[in-house]
């Protein structure tokens, strides 16, 4: 599906306890500059809040920014998204994720982990692709 047919809706958020949001704000701005519609939240969102937000805002991609160790509860988020029927929504994680913990995230359903060194062009391009995937999955599932 051509992403020029729609505007990707992306949620940029942080769960857990860390509050460093320089990265998430930069990514949110970059997504906007790439023509996407970004729902941006401050840090410390609960898993339930993220799920409700994802439903109401009908987001295509959720971008989780994680600096310290908050990625450790991303599997909880993935589980909650599935339980709410949001299998089509794509989730990416960006920030500091130790290499030995990345497989655990991918197994839980995270689409990609962006490590430091990823350029903004790279990140926005992939998010756009994943948004397309999400829309196709939605159509296929008849949601």
């Amino acid at each position: 599906m051509n992403t020029n047919d729609f505007r990707p809706r992306v949620l940029v958020t942080k769960i857990g306890l860390d509050g460093h949001d320089r990265g998430s704000r930069i990514v949110a701005a970059a997504c906007r500059d790439a023509g996407m519609e970004v729902i941006y939240t401050p840090p410390w969102q609960t898993v339930d809040a993220v799920v409700k937000l994802a439903i109401e805002e009908d987001v295509d991609v959720i971008g989780i920014s994680s600096l310290a160790t908050d990625h450790l509860i991303v599997p909880k988020l993935m589980k909650a998204l599935r339980a709410a029927g949001l299998d089509d929504v794509r989730v990416v994680v960006g920030g500091i994720v130790p290499d030995n913990e990345e497989p655990m995230l991918l197994e839980a359903g995270v689409r990609q982990v962006f490590h430091p060194g990823s350029t903004l062009d790279d990140i926005t391009a992939r998010i756009r692709e994943y948004a397309s995937e999400a829309r196709q999955a939605r159509t296929a599932a008849g949601v």
Binding site: L17, I26, P98
Partner: protein, 562 residues
Amino acid sequence: MNKPVAATLLEPRADADPHANWEREYRESIGPDRSIENVSGIAIKPLYTPRDWARYGSDVPLSYPGQPDYTRGIYATMHRGRTWTQRQLVGLGTPADYNARLLAMMASGTTAVSLIPCNSVYRGYDMDTVDAELLGTCGVVINNVEHMQRSLDGVDVGTVSCAMNDPSPFTLLAFMLVAAERRGTDWRRIAGTSNQSDYLSHFVANHMFYRLSLPGARRVLMDHIAWCNEHLPRWNPMSVVGQHMQQAGATPAEAMAFTLSTAIQNAEDCVARGMDPDAFLPRFTFFFDISLNFFEEVAKFRAGRRIWARVAKERLGAREPRSWRFKFHGQTSGVDLTRQQPLNNVARVTVQAMAGIFGGLQSLHTDAYDEALACPSEFGARIAVATQNILREEAHLTDVIDPLGGSFYVESLTDQMEQKIVSIMKIVDDAGGMYQAVEAGVVQRMIGASAMRFQNRIDSGEQVVVGVNAYRVDEAEDERPLVERPDPAVMKHHIDEFVAWKAARSQADVDRALDRLTRAAEDRADNVFGAVVEAARAGLTHEEICSRLRRDLGFGHPLAVV
């Protein structure tokens, strides 16, 4: 046979200006040149000469250390008389884990305590109300007096300087004071700092530390300063922070400007409350980030020192020299460290530390090489302290005071940084002062723009980051350091113990203590921090204190500006 060197070559051409000669030869040999600006936006030349230093050639081109304008240092002796404090941030796991690490660090050269609590503590929560996976990964989990006591076992707070990295309402200091009281330590001997007590910087750029509303935090800080001035004569209750803003993307000049403006705001708040500048200014300290921009950092600190002395005297009306002293702690910037090829970070930290030392700091924390990944390992933390020891003992950096003073470059850059910093401070003044400027988002927007500019320079490759966007290497799995996490079983035990302890308290005592907090919050003439200390004594937990004060003084919602 050698031709004799022509006599004319040995004599300077009488009609030529050596500067012009150099310039010509430089331009002829340099090939494609580039114009360079430092991070703060000041143009940097290839060479600096006496012409670049405004005061060169005057009778006293530069002040002396310990004398106005303090450019060369706030004391006559500086590090030669008393070396900088090696105040390494330590925080991880349970109190027992923390205590073990602290004692090991002190044995290897750390001379003061700087305790960093768990993120759950920053958010105002107790360990039994958050996801267990997140506990103790970035700081020590302390929720009551007993935990603080255990954490500082073997350390006499009456003789070792302690810094608590804990924002309003400063519960950790309250726990520490009550623990000291129980041990019989006289509070008047306790020295240290309420590190990062600056709520404005947290509102702008470290939302994790931001617990109470802006007006609530303002009130508690003032109460805290007044209370400490009365009960803890050797304690610095005010630590104005430039670190978070710089780490959030502010340029060094912006970080210094915003920090000084914050200090002015807090000082004016103290004056409005009836305090005498000469009483509270000597206990104002600063906390800065030190980046890899070596000379820019040195100039930033020297300029800051000069500006602060002027501000304290002329704007705030302090009469005594000890009120004009710009005392600061520097922390090497974690933002410059990379996850790729982590051992390279040892070189980075060394350069950053040197910049801080040449900038004239009073206290230094050096990051461990694996700090980019998680809490530092003991191995990495040891190297960080050794770095400081090497700089002092083997590089002899304490032998000479302000050794870069008189460098045409450093003096010129100090002057230019001063101008830039002052111009940014004017923007804040025009916005009505720092409190109003941050409330309106002015500061946040400026920082966001600088952050975006910097990111673009990295993305485009203009700013090279070794190992990341250049000089990349495929690293084997085992080259990356393993991340240490607290032992889940040990943490579970800590939680269970805590829950049992809570249940064993008298609910009547707890309710009474909570009411006391509310009464203090509601009465502007009462001292909230005094009530927090009483609450600690009565056995309230960290979350109980924080949530009651959040209820009464407002929950902190920082302004998010994209």
